[in-house]
Symmetry: C2
DNA sequence: GTCTATATGGCGATAGAC
DNA sequence: GTCTATCGCCATATAGAC
């Protein structure tokens, strides 16, 4: 689109929309950053505004309240944090490969989002109802899921394992070193960041091996 | 001590002291209760006062600030949460027995204090410096601890295992189902409290078996 | 030591100019 | 849409009577 001075212009609505999106995105990015580190209770609207390079009033203009802004962040984060397990099960890989793939991609995710575990743990304990959405949208039928995992397990010559305990084990082993970072880093490695990172990078291999040894028959 | 009417009485100072202790203990109990559920950020001095059956002003009379009161609670809780691992190693039990004993007593502790994991995780992430004390007083020399565990492991004909990873694994498997209670209970058991409790009571056995299979050679 | 009343500050939220 | 200024509340903390 070109005006009478031959300058390219865009329809006003589009310009508005782009500006809006830009600001809204800046807010969402900033809120994501702050909420993930501090959680709902610890975060301050002022800090989010600073991080986004705007002021508090604008936050309320785009999202009516802190609670609403938080919910927007929580919903997207929660989706990311619940990998679709059925997707892993559907492929025609061996059980061992499926488990490896799941562990590897999950720890990958956590290394890119180290604050994710505590963010979710804090919120689901603060407000357990916040889980209801995800249950409906993502894990539609848990009963069915564990049934499927159970069937997959029985196809293999391994120890009898409760699917729920197995899943909890895999997630626990993956998540804990991130959630307990200060503990692991300070107490186990004398606050040596490098040593802690090294520990994390060994983790994928360790968890995979650990899980397989725990279910494989001699 | 007897007065002129032959009634037993106590010196005023002692009476004062007892009253003081009673109130102080009531405060500590109440603070323990509230802080463990809500954490430093989520707790309210009013709620602690109500729980103790006194008013807010008294809290500040006994402990100067919320922060100081919290520190008092955190210190005692942290001590409880760090079992003396060397104690378990010192006995002349087999490795398997030592591991079993540790897991069993630790999960026992968590069942009696289900809020303990999240309380500690939240606080060490909010204020990592809070760990410094415990490091000095309890886990004096981590290097030494893992050296000792490593030696113990090498005495047995098992897979080569990094003591740090093994310890993290044991704690992760024990702690996670408590820290992630809403997740496990709602998502895995359709919010069936009984089923979740049943799951927890199976946990000791599961974790023990899991650990042993993962380190035992065929 | 314990209470009521109040000061003080911070934070979420809104009003209103531009 | 964005800003400055301000309201109103709530939580920690203190003053002061008893």
């Amino acid at each position: 689109m070109v005006n009478k001075f031959n300058q390219t212009v865009k329809p006003t609505r589009l310009i508005m929309k782009e500006i809006k999106d830009k600001t809204e995105d800046k807010i969402l990015d900033a809120a994501h950053e702050v909420f993930l580190r501090k959680g709902m209770d610890g975060a301050r609207m002022q800090e989010i505004a600073d991080e986004a390079g705007i002021n508090k009033a604008l936050l309320h203009y785009y999202f009516r309240s802190k609670e609403k802004l938080f919910e927007a962040i929580f919903a997207t984060v929660l989706k990311k944090a619940f990998p679709n397990i059925l997707k892993f099960l559907a492929s025609d890989l061996t059980l061992e490969q499926k488990v490896d793939l799941f562990i590897e991609s999950y720890i990958d995710l956590l290394q890119k989002n180290p604050y994710l575990p505590m963010f979710i743990l804090k919120e689901i304990n603060r407000n357990p109802e916040s889980l209801a959405d995800i249950i409906r949208s993502k894990v539609e039928d848990p009963e069915q899921l564990f049934e499927t995992i159970g069937n997959e397990l029985r196809k293999n010559d391994i120890f009898e394992v409760d699917p729920r305990h197995l899943l909890v084990n895999i997630i626990a082993l993956s998540v804990f070193p991130f959630a307990a970072r200060p503990l692991v880093q300070q107490v186990m490695f004398g606050n040596d960041k490098k040593a802690y990172q090294q520990f994390l990078s060994e983790r994928k291999q360790v968890v995979k091996q650990f899980i397989h040894r725990s279910i494989s028959k001699p």
